[in-house]
Symmetry: C2
Subunit: 88 residues, 2 copies
């Protein structure tokens, strides 16, 4: 297997699953203080575009990695919106 | 221009620059409470692998987007490590 494919797989795995500890921390502590709402709005929009892109070019790796990222980052966005709207 | 290229560009732009508001918020408030240290360790590692991948396959888009993401996410990681080590 070509070394670049292995590097690409490691990169995708790390950036995708890096959101798992953040999702666990946010869901368990409900603490979204230091988290930027605009970051997660932009990020979730961006990941949705990556999913659309994966569909358009029929790339299962891009599609699956970004579906996982969406599943992990959406609860963080939801909890941040909820905490901001509570304070409003 | 093919629609998928436009979608891919928007996706890359959004997920790359989504870290800008988080970097600004963290640098200005120094508040990293709700932020997960392990997320940013994994994420910065992952982005570094994307840069390596971009070099290997000579893809300027992947290389440039991930260099920007690295520049934006590294200060967040640094400030989180600093705040954790202060408390230790």
């Amino acid at each position: 297997m070509d070394i670049s494919i292995i590097i690409g797989f490691i990169a995708a795995f790390l950036t995708t699953f890096s959101f798992l500890p953040q999702a666990i921390k946010t869901i368990s502590t409900k603490n979204t203080d230091g988290i930027s709402l605009s970051m997660y709005i932009l990020f979730v929009m961006g990941v949705s575009f990556w999913i659309l892109y994966g569909i358009f070019i029929s790339d299962l790796a891009i599609l699956s990695a970004n579906i996982v990222t969406l599943l992990l980052s959406s609860p963080i966005l939801y909890l941040k919106i909820r905490s901001v709207s509570k304070r409003a």
